[in-house]
Amino acid sequence: MIAQEQKPIEEILGYLDGKRKIVAVGCGGCATFYHTGDKKAVKEMAERLRKEGKEVTEVILPLGVSACEIDMSSKFLEKNRKAIEDADAVLVMSCGDGVQVVCEYIDNKIGVTKPVVPANDALGLVGGGPTKFKETCQSCGQCELGKTAGICPLTSCGKGLMNGPCGGVREDGKCEVDPEKDCAWVKIYERMEKMGELDKFTEMRAPHAWSKAKRPRLFTIEEPVKPVRTILASLPSYLTLLGGPEYEMLMLF
């Protein structure tokens, strides 16, 4: 999941300076989990922008409909085609993926070129929950976890070293860069020690191959996943009794 937080309102207002008609697009994916693009966040943002004298159209994407998955989110953009065509700017309340996918759709499918601006800052691919999340993977394209006791040093080591620890480990086994964080290499050492694999620790791991992280990466799958609503239609009817967002959320897992 992509962690995110809303930008300072001053920055958002700066992007929207001089623009009166705004379309605020939410996101029913990660941004809903982080309360940066759910229904409440979109409504609050719209309210704030109205106080600035702006005319706002809210495009709320229900839970399960991520802004970045255009096959689903486009249905909601199309419903608001007129508002988008008339807008002075589109504010997308998702991660940067969502902003850019929506921007591309508006350019190419709605056929108008508008300022499309971000409301949020994406903070990385994270796992965990329900309230605390940790970035543990950076999607580098060449997973090293098989060599590092299941802990990614490229992400979890403050320096991203393949052969740590560095000399900066603190007394309590924390990182020199941030005393709140564990030294990933001390953790790797401890796991290898428990597993009786310390011989692996003293082996040199080759420098990471960054060639697979050449950006931007493009990716194709042969069989597209069916949109959530199609899946829902094929599910046992008792689940539908749940109704509402909880029902849709259940479908995600």
Binding site: N163, P165, G167, V169, V177
Partner: protein
């Protein structure tokens, strides 16, 4: 690793001579007059001098340029410190080859403090390699005439590569395993981080066990209380004894400059005489004296080791 010796440092270490090395710090300046002046004062006192590479991630004159100028103008052999923090593997290779071209013969391969701890914290940290893979790269260049991708290097440079070790590391067992890893990939000598406590030294050598490469133990006789205090507060893995700190602090009260200098020397000589006497009983092959801007203390300390 071949048996060839390219530098005075390695010659003396291989001969089993007790070796002293010093430390020079290029500054944030358009010249290297200060480290050159310091190097002149150290000629004859130490076999070679480390030239620091952006210590604590503060950007200073390039250690490559400084090492070359110092060596050329003073005859002091340099140990060119090279960090992974600021350069990717291509830039590191360029600098390694450049070092050979400029007549440098020793490199100390370092990971480097994180750039966020420096004076330009928004800089992008690199760490494409780490100290281990940097050592492996240097060995591959020197021994096989190839880079990490296997590309041929015509007329490869003649260089020795050293590694750092932190005897006071908070998690010593992991540090020791890393040091052994660096030895395994071809480090030819070790210079340790500063040590003040004999028991820290003993624990380090005990955990390290017998190794085939020489270990030079780092000491830091502080010229001022502020220097000692800085090490204590900000240098990872280094604890400065409270008594020594207290004695250094007391020197600040002495108004007469000459008398203050004498007292600073006395405090250092007293403290380090005891430490160096202990060092004699360890497997250390030498001593890396990081007395930056404080060359007058070195002859006094060397006397202890004679």
């Amino acid at each position: 690793m071949g048996d060839e010796v390219y530098s005075q440092l390695m010659k003396e270490l291989k001969e089993g001579k007790y070796v002293f090395t010093g430390e020079l710090e290029p500054e944030k300046a358009g010249d290297v007059e200060e480290p050159i002046k310091a190097a002149r004062e150290l000629v004859g006192l130490v076999t070679a001098c480390n030239v620091t590479d952006n210590p604590q991630s503060f950007a200073y004159v390039s250690s490559l340029a400084a090492s070359y100028k110092i060596q050329q103008e003073t005859g002091m052999e340099c140990i060119y410190q090279l960090r992974c923090a600021d350069r990717n593997r291509n830039a590191l290779l360029s600098d390694i080859l450049g070092a050979g071209v400029l007549g440098l013969r020793n490199i100390l391969a370092l990971t480097g403090d994180h750039v966020s701890l420096g004076d330009t914290p928004d800089a992008k940290p690199v760490y494409d390699l780490d100290s281990t893979t940097l050592i492996a790269l240097i060995r591959k260049v020197v021994d096989e005439g190839k880079d990490l991708a296997g590309n041929e290097i015509h007329n490869p440079p003649k260089l020795h590569v050293g590694a750092a070790a932190a005897p006071g590391a908070a998690v010593l067992k992991a540090e020791i395993a890393k040091v052994k890893r660096k030895i395994k990939v071809g480090a030819e000598f070790i210079q340790t981080q500063v040590v003040y406590y004999p028991e820290v030294l003993d624990r380090f050598f005990k955990e390290l066990g017998k190794v085939d490469i020489p270990v030079l133990v780092g000491i830091f006789p502080a010229k001022t209380y502020a220097q000692a205090d800085f090490f204590d507060k900000y240098v990872a893995g280094v604890d400065v004894p409270p008594d020594y700190l207290q004695n250094m602090k007391a020197t600040k009260q002495i108004k007469d400059k000459e008398k203050r200098k004498e007292e600073v020397d006395r405090v250092n000589i007293e403290f380090f005489t005891s430490f160096l006497e202990h060092l004699k009983d360890t497997p250390a092959a030498g001593c890396h004296i990081m007395a930056v801007g404080y060359p007058r203390i070195i002859p006094e300390l060397k006397k202890v080791m004679e």
